[in-house]
Symmetry: C2
Subunit: 160 residues, 2 copies
């Protein structure tokens, strides 16, 4: 075992900065989204993915991959969204084990109502703090990390 190569100051700054910035952004955006539209950030992300999908529906397994959460986590998250009428479960006709999560009319409306304020907050706390070059460098850097990490749900980052 060779001598450990510790992180130098720049590496540390980048690593801790990433963790800290993420925590701040998520806390801020979740709180604001909940206050402005009564939808949590995780729920919002479900709605966004469904709204972008063909026929506004995705298989549970595919949705879990895109959201980076466990299947069981998604089951429970969907329970909540179904209870509030924003999503429906529809059995997949080709594979009767499978279930589609389908965005409802109400879900689409709630999303449409929530989105402008949320996007404005993403701008405020994230996009507007960075130059165009920084955004580009950041996007490339994140793509490298994602490409290096396990099974990349292909559509995760390239989409829209």
């Amino acid at each position: 075992m060779s001598e450990t190569r510790w992180l130098d100051p720049l590496e540390t700054r980048a690593w801790r900065g990433l963790m800290c910035a993420h925590a701040r952004l998520v806390a801020q955006l979740d709180a604001e989204l909940l206050a402005s539209s009564g939808i949590s950030l995780p729920d919002y992300e479900v709605l966004v993915h469904l709204s972008e999908a063909d026929s506004q529906r995705l298989r549970m397994s595919e949705l879990a991959l895109r959201l980076e959460i466990s299947p069981s986590g998604l089951t429970r998250r969907l329970d909540g969204l179904v209870a509030s009428g924003m999503v429906e479960r529809v059995q997949c006709p080709e594979d009767r084990r499978g279930t589609f999560a389908v965005l409802t009319e109400l879900g689409a409306e709630r999303l449409e109502a929530a989105a402008p304020a949320h996007v404005a907050q993403v701008r405020r706390w994230f996009v507007d703090r960075l130059t165009r070059d920084q955004l580009c460098a950041l996007a490339d850097a994140m793509a490298s990390i994602i490409a290096g990490s396990g099974a990349c749900s292909s559509s995760e980052v390239r989409a829209s």
Copy 2:
């Protein structure tokens, strides 16, 4: 209310990329750390912060700020670390409401044992995927975001 200015492709790529890369990194590193040393990533972070502090101790409130978690979350996290003997609680003599979390001998040993493998994994999944320029751009970008967001526990990012 003006027309919503949606995120353009680059902005979206940066934003989603950040969320996705973070999720991947945390999942990967937590699993590996737990497997290699039986310490969870959140616990490891507590140990790191204490090890870097003067006299290997920090007030609960300060530690919670640095870790970006709630006071109650820290109380419970510390309960676990105290139970496993890696941290002690010591009443603050100047302010008897206050408590110091103090790294124990055992905690320092466990941290020292865990650190090399963990740092190697941070290199593997994060540092090594980026060029020096990317690391620098990332560190600066994250610093801008953190500076823009609420009360920055001053030491969070500049330290080490």
